[in-house]
């Protein structure tokens, strides 16, 4: 990996992910307003349909990348000792990656 997302690139990544998540949230809220799922099968059928599961995986990817940029900034502001900072950033990266794998498993491996 090149020098982790910094400066302008982080700024851009944060905004692109934000706009995608905003559109996704509007879509999900609209869906729940128009036809809320009324049973397990309806819920599962909707979210695991190919289109919705894919835009959801992209959503969680955007979310985790957005969280990485944001929380990394927070840590760089408040955690000064270098060793502690590196340790916490590694912990954060590991946690976010694990959540990404988890989200992908939920949304992609359960297809029937």
């Amino acid at each position: 990996m090149r020098k982790a997302v910094t400066g302008l690139r982080a700024w851009l990544v944060q905004r692109i992910s934000a706009v995608y998540m905003l559109l996704f949230i509007v879509y999900v809220l609209a869906h729940f307003a128009v036809e809320p799922p009324r049973s397990y099968l309806e819920w599962r059928g909707w979210i695991l349909s190919p289109a919705v599961s894919i835009v959801s995986v992209v959503f969680f990817t955007a979310l985790l990348v957005h969280a990485w940029v944001g929380l990394r900034d927070v840590m760089m502001d408040y955690v000064k000792p270098l060793a502690v900072r590196v340790f916490m950033l590694a912990l954060l990266a590991g946690g976010l990656l694990a959540m990404g794998v988890w989200a992908a498993r939920i949304l992609l491996s359960a297809h029937d």
Partner: protein
Amino acid sequence: MTNGTHRRAVFFDLLRIQMPVGALTSITHRVTGVLLALGVPFVLYVLDLSLQSPDGYVQVLALLDRWFVKAGLIVLIWSLAHHLLAGIRHLLSDIDVGSLLPSARRSAWIVNLTGIAVALLAAGALL
């Protein structure tokens, strides 16, 4: 740097500092971002459970009926509302909409109060 002539005033009594409204919007944007990140594993857990089996789906419905889950949900809904609105304010500011002080102060008030209003509506709907 910190020698006699250039010593800066330091006044960090947080209970006595008066923050301008935009500063409140900004620090709350950060705090709500951290809260939302902490909420992600719980959302994934609930999503996973709800899709595992009809039984898991029923368990999720029961879980969402517990008072402490509702309380957590209201905090997350407030966080999301504030974070989204403060983010939109940022994006508008990027394209030079509302960057001047009077409109920036007005939009900061709108963000802070709308976030609280959404949280109250959610509380009304859930409790």
